[in-house]
């Protein structure tokens, strides 16, 4: 197993974080090609796709976690994309189970996924008109207080 060789196949930084964990940081444009190479390299399972909202840097970090069944290594592929009009390319053709993760990405972060026909369809939420809820600038406490009334607590109930 030559994880070190990953450097030659992938444009981006590869760092062996610890045993069984590899961090790979790539550019937005290289996500699909990097994942493609990784799949050829043996990372045949897609564990999850998600995003992190780095609001101070005005960026989203899209995270793909892959698993190599043969080498027993988890690769975490990260790419930063701008927070304004975020868009990524779909990887559904590479990993069929990416579909719903990408749908979730659109729903929860507002990141558009090009090439995913379901992107933008409601998945977990129904009738949602506010900001995508997992964004840092969406204040769920405020939303919950405004929309769902709470029980007024009587004091000194004994």
């Amino acid at each position: 197993m030559e994880i070190e060789r990953l450097n030659q196949v992938i444009r981006g930084t590869v760092e062996v974080k610890r045993k069984q964990r590899v961090d790979i940081i790539v550019d937005n444009a290289d996500i699909v090609s990097a994942l493609h190479s990784l799949k050829l390299f043996g990372f045949n399972q897609l564990t999850l796709v998600t995003a992190v909202d780095w609001i101070e840097e005005q960026q989203f970090e899209v995270v793909y976690v892959l698993y190599s069944n043969a080498q027993k290594v988890v690769a975490i592929v990260k790419a930063r994309i701008p927070r304004e009009n975020p868009e990524i390319e779909t990887i559904e053709d590479l990993y069929p189970n990416a579909n719903k993760y990408e749908v979730e990405l659109t729903e929860m972060f507002g990141i558009k996924v090009r090439g995913n026909p379901d992107s933008g369809k409601p998945f977990l939420l129904e009738n949602w008109h506010d900001l995508p809820p997992m964004r840092k600038d969406f204040d769920s406490i405020k939303y919950a207080t405004e929309h769902y009334e709470a029980r007024h607590r009587k004091e000194n109930n004994d």
Partner: protein, 367 residues
């Protein structure tokens, strides 16, 4: 018989494992299209955790998956321990293993019982299995103080040491379940009617399973011995002697039998762990909860749940609260796209079996 129906199954439908629904398009009795509809249990744990201190989250996270809450606690603790570079005491590792395996047995007993009742109409197994599971729940209550949401595994180890006589009690329970297993086998697992209904049903191949990110018993049923307990051992698994059961058929029957075998394996693991458990402390001191900062960084912690690989992708910005947590439930790929694909071309009456055999846990999808 080519009349086309559209049929919504669920969310309040006994054939559906939990609160979610299926939108089916039928031609006669045959499913031509299946769409899952999730979100009935969506609580946005990722967001809720961002509001809470690290210790407060210990109370929150078991609620993600009610069938097997302890995996959440374990995986949460593991993620934080990795980021903080904390080593946990040996005894805590064993206690965690015992809890996780007992919870797994509970999940299997519950899941198989419900599977038998809610898909095949065999209520007897459910009545037995869920009833027998309750003794372990009582033991959990004596160990942790609560029946379902234990909030017992926390970063650094476990919350309390074992109560007196717990080792004997749990061994008694293991023996009790082992004695009951032949009955379960007789009435369900070796019942020709069950074989008849599940053999050859909804078969997946190894390649399909791998490409869709399928894990756990569903993958083991296709012949891949992938199990986090072996691949990336956590808690006390490195010290225990066990073999991952696999089957090659990949159908609903194999998936069910794998779970039956796993059940037995877990019972054996509990026995081993109880016998090997050393004395000593059970907790590495963690900071004061109000000033508990976790160093900046990210970690992906994973464990083997009863459904498959269960993980937290955990990001900390160095503050007192998690910055972002993504919960990777094992059921997500099992439902989307696996179940949606498997249902196509099947009879309506088999839909509950297929869903049941995949052991889909809706709260894991909705979170």
């Amino acid at each position: 018989m080519t009349k086309e129906y559209e049929l919504n199954i669920g969310p309040n439908h006994p054939g559906i494992p939990g609160n979610f629904s299926l939108h089916l398009e039928l031609e006669g009795d045959t499913i031509v299209k299946a769409n899952g509809d999730s979100g009935y249990l969506h609580r946005a744990f990722g967001k809720l955790m961002e509001h809470r201190l690290y210790l407060q989250n210990v109370a929150l996270i078991p609620r993600i998956c009610v069938i097997e809450p302890d995996i959440n606690e374990a995986v949460y603790a593991m993620a934080i321990e990795e980021l903080m570079g904390v080593k946990i005491p040996e005894r805590a590792k064993y206690i965690r293993t015992i809890i996780l395996e007992a919870a797994r047995v509970n999940a299997y007993l519950f899941g198989l019982g419900i599977f038998a009742a809610a898909t095949l109409g065999l209520y007897t197994l459910m009545q037995w299995a869920v009833g027998d599971r309750d003794y372990m729940i009582d033991l959990f209550a004596s160990l942790t103080g609560a029946r379902i949401y234990h909030m017992f595994i926390w970063p650094g180890g476990v919350r309390r040491d074992l109560p007196p006589k717990f080792e004997e009690d749990i061994l008694d329970w293991v023996k009790f379940i082992k004695d009951k297993l032949p009955d379960y086998d007789a009435v369900f697992f070796k019942n020709s009617m069950f074989l008849h209904r599940t053999k050859g049903l909804a078969t997946i191949t190894k390649e399909e399973a791998l490409s869709m990110g399928v894990t756990g018993p569903n993958l083991k049923a296709t012949g891949v011995a992938q199990d986090v307990r072996k691949d990336e051992p956590y808690a006390a698994y490195p010290y225990l002697d066990f073999e991952i059961p696999t089957m090659t058929e990949g159908d609903a029957w194999a998936r069910t039998i794998i779970r039956r075998l796993e059940l037995e394996l877990s019972l054996n693991l509990i026995e081993q762990a109880v016998k090997k458990m050393p004395k000593g402390p059970v907790w590495t001191k963690m900071p004061n909860p109000f000033k508990w900062y976790v160093p900046r960084g990210d970690a992906y912690a994973r464990v083997e749940s009863s459904g498959g690989e269960y993980g937290f992708y955990f990001v900390s910005d160095g503050g007192a609260k998690p910055y972002r947590v993504y919960v990777r439930g094992a059921s997500m790929p099992h439902m989307y796209p696996l179940a949606e694909k498997l249902l196509i071309g099947q009879k309506l009456s088999d839909a509950p079996q297929i869903l049941g055999s995949l052991n889909i846990c809706p709260p894991e999808i909705d979170r």
